[in-house]
């Protein structure tokens, strides 16, 4: 006989303002099988939880329904309270009276009635709940970090320093990411490479970190604590054990005119190349699409000049299988190509460049060795115009969000230019200045006051070329919308920060949610910024949303700490809400007829065969059997089974049917 306890929460006024909670509690008390029903201001608080525990003990409750916020919020809280009072935690369910009721409706009779219906539905479900016990899963204490930028590097070092193994996978031939492309960083004007490269070397030398560059995730299977990752190591055409990084091959390669990705197209590289001098690992790869040998069968100069014989033209991609317990996604971001804005002339005029391209010009190891020169004729520009918000905050054509880093790096670019070209003049067309970080506002002030950067509040309507100069037409809205025209030698567009290409495909491979801009979704926007909805997979850095370096490093350490917490146990408890094929006494044994339609539907191959034999060993029938270690509890098999021979704990056929009937019938 059921003895259900119903606890209706006011949630302060969040629920009680629109729902008559006392009436809901009273109506619940009238339901057959409910032994105790009450309401209280804050069910999740200490006194609230104590109330539940006391009721369980005093009334001998066999089940609990809490009518409050979303179960996605507090189900673990209330289940834990029940467990502490001696009631199996899976005998506790929550009715969503807040997110699905009080917060979306006005105060009315219908709203209260809906709350009563929702509570009744869950009461009928709990009556059919069975005590369940968590499944224990072993934890493999190795982490997979995808992405070798500053986020991936920081996360890897933290996890490795805590004593766990890390495998760092990077798509490019070297780690470092966008931070390695920067010249100096705001607000300190630290040389980016100088602060990054020691970390890169630390990663390469760390005994607990295994580095795989020029590699990508091919497949991810399994679940938290026991993932199986397949990594595709793309063929570098180099034997890394023999290569000593002397670089002779790169100097002798005859194919020299390939636009360098690292230099954002402003410089050239060879077909066998190291992306930048401080690359880690400092070993080259062969770009098969541009190499004379791979394309035309000629050359092989690198092989001839290599002192250790490390060139391997016959090398193939290698698939490596790894067993890991957690994954950190740190795949970073990309800069939007602003050619979609014809008014700016990007792509049409050589001297209109993006902020990232300016970084390469300013960089001491860049294509112009740190001198700011026009890409068209190599002359030093006397006047540069910087256009902020070139594509960001634009719901019409660009992206509606703010890219966060541009105000700061535009100020930095203008300052760097002024430091390098003392007589130069710089202008920044801006909408707002977002300088919210520590020392950020002071940095921007420095640009305006000390370096005499001209800030013009207004947008640019058109840029066109005339007599070798770029005419920039804009407006100064702070001087009564006076039109402004500047004859510039170079224009730098602070283009929007967008998700990396391939982010969507990667998210789908890992079953991680992503938003409409292909940034990965965090589990909760406020309280779970480094977790995803997929247990065991964490986020770090700009792949989640545009952010600057200090925030990236913080988030990476945050993700690392979540991994370390996970690895602090030898075993994980998994939710036991899995499928089970029914069994009954002889002569039926099971109503399953062994058609295995369930097995064909299971996304995890969790359903196998079981031979039911008699005492003499003769096979009576072949039925389906669920592997509890693999089943994730989706229930697709249950909906497929024609004879209803397979059922899922927690969402069983009886329970769902009882919920439907309860919801649609007023007592």
């Amino acid at each position: 006989m059921s003895k259900i306890g119903v606890f209706i929460c006011h949630c302060g006024e969040n629920i009680s303002a629109t729902v008559d909670v006392a009436r809901v509690a009273e109506a619940a008390g009238q339901i057959e099988g409910v032994a105790f029903s009450t309401d209280y201001k804050y069910m999740c608080s200490d006194p609230g939880q104590t109330m539940i525990k006391q009721a369980i003990k005093e009334k001998g409750l066999t089940g609990v329904v809490v009518g409050s916020c979303s179960p996605r919020m507090h189900e673990p809280t209330f289940r834990k309270a029940c467990q502490e009072a001696g009631l199996n935690p899976f005998m506790c369910e929550m009715a969503n009276l807040r997110e699905h009721c009080s917060w979306v409706h006005d105060k009315s009779e219908a709203t209260t009635q809906k709350a009563i219906d929702l509570v009744r539905t869950l009461v009928e479900k709990v009556k059919l709940n069975k005590p369940l016990y968590s499944i224990k899963v072993p934890v493999t204490k190795t982490a997979l970090v995808i992405g070798g930028g500053i986020a991936g590097i920081q996360a890897s070092l933290d996890i490795a320093n805590a004593g766990h193994q890390v495998i760092l996978v990077e798509r490019d031939p070297s780690i470092g990411g966008h931070m390695s492309q920067l010249s100096e960083t705001f607000p300190t004007l630290d040389c980016s490479q100088c602060i990054l490269t020691p970390r890169m070397v630390e990663v390469a030398q760390h005994p607990n970190i295994k580095l795989m560059t020029y590699a990508e995730l091919e497949k991810l299977e399994g679940s938290i604590g026991s993932f199986k990752a397949t990594i595709r190591k793309k063929a570098k055409s180099i034997d890394e054990d023999l290569c000593n990084g002397c670089g002779t091959c790169t100097t002798k390669c005859p194919t020299k005119k390939i636009p360098s990705e690292f230099n954002t197209g402003l410089g050239m590289r060879t077909a066998i190349y190291v992306p930048f001098p401080q690359a880690v690992p400092n070993k080259p790869v062969i770009d098969k699409e541009n190499c004379s040998y791979y394309q035309k069968g000629k050359c092989k100069v690198c092989e001839k000049v290599c002192p250790t014989g490390a060139i391997r033209f016959d090398q193939e991609d290698e698939l490596v299988e790894l067993e890991v317990g957690a994954v950190v996604i740190a795949t970073g971001f990309d800069i939007m190509q602003p050619s979609g804005f014809p008014e700016y002339g990007y792509g049409k005029y050589k001297d209109v460049i993006t902020g990232l391209q300016f970084e390469r010009l300013a960089s001491a190891s860049g294509p112009t060795l740190g001198e700011i020169r026009r890409p068209s004729d190599g002359k030093i520009p006397e006047k540069i115009v910087f256009v902020a918000c070139a594509g960001s905050r634009d719901p019409a054509k660009g992206i509606p969000y703010c890219s966060k880093i541009c105000c700061m790096y535009t100020a930095k670019h203008a300052m760097l230019y002024q430091h390098k070209v003392h007589h130069g003049k710089s202008y920044i067309f801006y909408m707002d200045i977002r300088a919210a970080g520590k020392n950020y506002e002071e940095f921007v002030r420095r640009a305006i006051v000390e370096d005499e950067v001209n800030y013009i509040r207004g947008r640019v309507s058109k840029i066109y070329e005339e007599n070798g100069k770029l005419i920039v037409k804009g407006v100064d809205t702070l001087s009564s919308a006076k039109p402004v025209e500047i004859e510039a030698d170079m224009v730098v567009l602070a283009s929007a920060a967008v998700a990396n290409p391939g982010a969507e495909a990667l998210a789908q491979k890992m079953h991680v949610s992503y938003d409409s801009y292909n940034f990965f979704s965090e589990a909760h926007p406020k309280l779970k910024p480094v977790e995803t909805n997929t247990a065991g997979i964490f986020l770090a850095g700009a792949c989640q949303a545009p952010k600057d370096i200090p925030e990236t490093v913080s988030q990476a350490s945050g993700a690392a700490s979540k991994v370390i917490i996970l690895f602090s146990k030898d075993e994980l408890s998994r939710d036991p809400l899995i499928a089970v094929v029914n069994r009954s006494p002889a002569p039926v044994f099971s109503t399953c007829v062994g058609c295995f339609m369930c097995a064909s539907a299971c996304p995890y191959q969790a359903i196998g065969e079981e031979l039911i034999t008699n005492r003499q060993g003769k096979v009576i029938k072949k039925v389906a059997k669920v592997n509890p270690g693999l089943c994730q509890g989706c229930g697709t098999c249950v909906a497929f089974c024609r004879s209803k021979s397979i059922d899922i704990q927690g969402y069983s056929n009886e329970q769902m049917c009882a919920e439907v009937i309860a919801l649609l019938n007023h007592e």
Partner: protein
Amino acid sequence: MTEFEPKIIAFVCNWCTYAGADLTGTSRIKYAQNVKIIRFPCTGRIDFMLLLKSFGEGADGIIVSGCHPNDCHYTSGNFHARRRWIMFRGLLDMLGIDVRRIQYSWVSAAEGSKWADIVNSTVNTIRELGPYTEYEKVAGYLEKEANQ
């Protein structure tokens, strides 16, 4: 004569639409009270028998909603569900059970306003179609009421 208030039941998946409906709540977007949600782990779990049961128990309309294709938390549950719905819808149509009374949708965890939209538009559609008296007659409810 009170205005007809449709009774609509919604079958939603935990990972996308339920979370999306939570977001609607957190964003305080208001919508009609007629829709009540039942939580499923995945749309793949939604048995067509439950939809039939709903009409049999007096529902005037049904909403079935889950993750967008390719985004299913369990990889392929929503693909299987989609095939099932295509067949079920065809059968209901053949039998003269009004398919406009069942609204299928993909609502992700980030689409709080879309959920409110779906709810409001479905309530309006059902209000226009009126109570599902033909089915209620078949289910014997009007008889029951007449006998009381």
